[in-house]
């Protein structure tokens, strides 16, 4: 008999409290290889807590978080081998160039990246060649995010975590970003993005979960709805 492979991300009935406040209240979510899942929700809904649990920065009070079958709470470093994370603000070392930043962060991940390889990854992420050797202090948010994407590409991670990836990006950079996400999914990378950007969600996500008060209150197939219907449904769920 053939077993189904482990899901890339399996969050099972997770509860996380901070003092008297419940941040996650029985969150359950399973993502398989190549899926793009968008986590929609207002501020305070539990999106960042979810990401922190997946990265192993927090441990669930009850329930489990597994990345490629590895318990992220018990063995976070091993779990993070499979994860690439791009925060909302990709904060690089301003005194280093884009290339040097990429090589530094991949060194942290245990990779020894040659200069040519680093340049190739930066190009693949969409960073102009002239910017590779320029100090990151002069980078725009979009350029910094491209370095973040290059780090993720270098890592060949199975799970890509994106925290508000398109916030503050101009339309062109945002469109580039969507392409990168789709390309990653096509290579079999699972993507979990926490966002407010319904337009991009509609464009790139396979599934959308509406997170409210620490639990997914509705899961939507964006292919079935146009942008306006998706927005209407989201607002209705938040109001209910």
């Amino acid at each position: 008999m053939r077993h189904a492979p482990d899901p890339v991300l399996a969050i099972g009935d997770v509860v996380k409290r901070f003092g008297g406040r419940t941040a996650l209240d029985g969150l359950t979510l399973t993502l398989r290889a190549g899926e793009v899942f968008a986590l929609l929700g207002p501020n305070g809904a539990g999106k960042t807590t979810t990401i922190n649990l997946i990265l192993g920065f927090l441990r669930a009070d009850t329930g489990t978080v597994r990345v490629c079958g590895i318990d992220a709470g018990a063995d976070p470093i091993v779990a993070r081998e499979a994860i690439a994370y791009i925060p909302e603000q990709v904060a690089l070392y301003p005194g280093l160039s884009g290339r040097e930043n990429l090589r530094y962060f991949t060194t942290l991940a245990g990779l020894a990246l040659a200069r040519d390889e680093a340049d190739r990854l930066l190009e693949q992420a969409g960073l102009a060649v002239e910017a590779h050797t320029r100090k990151a202090a002069s980078y725009s948010k979009g350029m910094r995010q491209k370095v973040g994407i290059a780090i993720a590409l270098a890592r060949r991670a199975r799970l890509l975590l994106l925290d508000e990836p398109t916030s503050g990006l101009d339309p062109s950079a945002s469109a580039d970003f969507s392409s990168v996400v789709r390309a990653a999914a096509a290579r079999g990378t699972t993507v979990l993005m926490a966002t407010h950007d319904l337009y991009r969600v509609k464009e790139v996500a396979d599934r959308v979960g509406v997170l409210q008060a620490g639990r997914i209150v509705e899961e939507i197939d964006p292919a079935r709805l146009d942008h306006a219907a998706l927005e209407r449904l989201y607002i209705e769920r938040l109001a209910s």
Partner: protein
């Protein structure tokens, strides 16, 4: 190459690329050069003073010989005993010029220590009666506020921690403030490995740079002219300096694990520096004063005046002089000697010794107590611990000064023991050099007068350095361990 080594190399490169690194190291280098120069200049001045004293001694002997020759001619003129170098008493009280000296050690330029407040040269004379040992100094607590001379020890003990704080104080905290830490933490690596590389890199650079700068500064300014006989002490001091730097780096790491941001980290570290540089030494000094029973010099001076009054007024003087003469064979029947000035003086000094020795002993006991207590109290602060190690190696510590003062007092007793039988012999049986000569007695043993033998116990430097090395290492490990424990997980 393992990931840890690769990361250490990358972090080292990053620290070396920061302008702040070079600015801090350049400033520290200038301070080390200045501190070493100050030490070298002070040692040169001390050597010059000692050479001057030796020349003065030689001149005094030459003058005595000239006087002896000039007066050893028949003449009707008379001279007084105090003008006569052939009179042992006259020579002792008027011509004798000798010094107890504390020569600078080969490493003296490292630390001023107590040298600014304690003498390295004591003139020993018998021209007037002295109750105390011709020393107008109080040792006091040696853990006094450490903000004294701008010397090499000041730079190493006080300014080096600031350099460490400037370069290591915001590691991790600055990344936390900028948000870079979150991207770092998202990589498959634990906080211990990252912190180890970051603090290891800055520690490696600081230890290597400061040791090299310190060595160069000492060599370039001539502060250390030869390392012969001091290599072990210097090696121990280098190890102690490295342990001291690592201790402050460990403190920076521990503060970073509070995850309060760069401003808070710097504030805490500067407060810690102030605490250990100013507050703890001041408190230790206060504690030393409270824990020791300091004798009153005023009371001792009052006692000495009473003893002098007792001897000078009334019948006590002649009675005590007669008693003193009785212990000398052949002198008991010489009633005329009771009024001889030299005999009265010797009897009086012996009486003073007997009556005032308790006071002297109380000062000696206090010196020993305060020195021992200071050694322990210094351990309350890494700054004073390291400073004491440097003073010990330099031979400028309070212990060596106390020993020197004790040896100066002993030298005074040795001189008296040399002159006393000669003075008594001349009093009992004056032997003229020649009939009708001005210089009329036979004392000419000027070269036989005992010389002060300075001591230089270099082992003391070893002990102080070894003690500091062990203690600073223990404190550094004590700071690093909780940091290590707290770095088990990344902050959320």
């Amino acid at each position: 190459m393992s990931r840890a080594l690769r990361l250490l190399a990358v972090e080292t490169g990053m620290v070396l690329r920061e302008k702040l690194t070079w600015a801090v190291l350049a400033t520290l280098f200038a301070a080390l050069l200045l501190g070493a120069h100050m030490g070298a200049a002070r040692v040169d001045a001390e050597r010059a003073a000692l050479a001057g004293a030796a020349a003065e001694e030689a001149r005094a002997v030459a003058t005595a010989r000239e006087t002896f020759a000039r007066y050893a001619q028949p003449t009707p003129a008379k001279i007084n005993a105090w003008q006569d170098p052939t009179n042992a008493f006259g020579y002792m009280t008027q011509f004798l010029t000798v010094h107890a000296v504390k020569p600078p050690s080969p490493l003296a330029a490292l630390a001023t220590g107590q040298s600014d407040v304690q003498p390295a040269l004591v003139r020993v004379s018998f021209g007037s009666s002295t109750v105390f040992d011709d020393v107008a100094y109080e040792l006091g607590s040696a853990v006094r506020l450490k903000l004294g001379a701008f010397d090499f020890a000041f730079v190493l003990a006080v300014l080096v921690p600031l350099a460490v704080i400037a370069l290591a104080g915001t590691r991790l905290s600055a990344e936390g403030d900028s948000g870079t830490l979150r991207l770092i933490a998202a990589q498959p690596i634990g906080p211990r490995a990252v912190a180890g590389a970051k603090f290891g890199a800055v520690a490696g650079i600081l230890v290597a740079a400061i040791l090299a700068q310190a060595g160069f500064a000492l060599w370039a300014t001539g502060a250390i002219r030869s390392v012969a006989g001091t290599t072990t002490t210097l090696a121990l001091l280098a190890g102690t300096l490295a342990a001291y730097i690592l201790l402050w780096v460990a403190a920076c790491a521990l503060v970073a694990t509070l995850w309060r941001g760069a401003v808070a980290a710097l504030s805490i570290l500067v407060l810690a520096w102030t605490l250990f540089t100013v507050v703890v030494p001041a408190a230790a000094s206060l504690a030393a004063d409270l824990l020791t029973d300091k004798p009153s010099r005023i009371a001792a001076i009052d006692a000495s005046r009473q003893v002098q009054d007792d001897f000078a007024n009334g019948s006590a003087g002649p009675r005590l002089t007669a008693q003193w003469l009785n212990r000398i064979p052949g002198a008991a029947e010489r009633a005329d000697l009771v009024e001889a000035p030299e005999i009265k003086r010797l009897a009086r000094d012996a009486h003073y010794d007997a009556e005032l020795d308790a006071h002297r002993e109380s000062f000696r006991t206090y010196d020993r107590q305060i020195a021992a207590l200071s050694r322990w109290l210094a351990l309350a602060s890494p700054v004073t611990t390291f400073d004491f190690a440097l003073q010990g190696a330099a031979g400028t510590d309070a212990g060596r000064h106390a020993a020197f003062l004790a040896s100066a007092a002993a030298y005074r007793r040795t001189l008296r023991a040399f002159f006393e039988p000669r003075i008594v012999a001349q009093a009992l049986n004056p032997v003229p050099v020649c009939g009708g000569c001005q210089a009329r007695l036979d004392f000419d043993a000027y070269d036989a007068v005992p010389r002060f033998q300075p001591t230089l116990d270099l082992d003391t430097g070893h002990d102080a350095s070894l003690r500091a090395l062990a203690w600073l290492t223990a404190v550094g490990v004590g700071l690093a361990l909780p940091a290590w424990v707290r770095l088990r997980i990344w902050p959320a």
